[in-house]
Amino acid sequence: DTAVSQTPKYLVTQMGNDKSIKCEQNLGHDTMYWYKQDSKKFLKIMFSYNNKELIINETVPNRFSPKSPDKAHLNLHINSLELGDSAVYFCASSQRYRPPAFFGQGTRLTVV
């Protein structure tokens, strides 16, 4: 069983579209994250949730909205996609408030 699973793995879409990425963890962790990795491999935190509560909200455009229906799921919805949103997005989880311990395989988003 995959510890942290993201879907889809690849996402190609046109500018202006709205898309969602889903993440689920089966580790019983309380804290989940979204990270963005750009073409230079820089990793930047976007959001973190602890038991469905938003903890960290970095300077991310309002077009990005995370949603955590329960502590095992953290989804990311992106409105009005722009070329600059092209990147790999990673979901991660950890025990309560700890740094990320397990990452998903990533979702490669390409905006054309």
């Binding site: 942290v4 804290t31 230079k40 491999k41 820089f42 990793l43 930047k44 935190i45 973190s48 602890n50 903890i55 960290i56 990673f90 991660a92 950890s94 309560r96 408030y97 700890r98 740094p99 990320p100 311990a101 397990f102 990452f103 998903g104 395989q105 990533g106």
Partner: protein, 116 residues
Amino acid sequence: QQQVKQSPQSLIVQKGGISIINCAYENTAFDYFPWYQQFPGKGPALLIAIRPDVSEKKEGRFTISFNKSAKQFSLHIMDSQPGDSATYFCAASRPMRGTNAGKSTFGDGTTLTVKP
């Protein structure tokens, strides 16, 4: 302001050699320092981590050295193998309570190539 500076950007080592990657941080509020290993097409994986009250931590061929006064820490990979070829990230994390609890700031990564 780059809070965690990682060097070198890339590193080539012969099989059996020692790989050394360095990181420096600025914010003394950080209290946990993990290292991650990332293979192409995969998510980062937590490799080893240290707290600032310890100067060294070893797990197999991987060792973290920590210098609190200099605000520096490094990853040493002993007897480097071609299978160690990956991108390595250091990180510094805030305490688990208070503002931005557990927030991790990553270094820019080091691409390690171990030649056979």
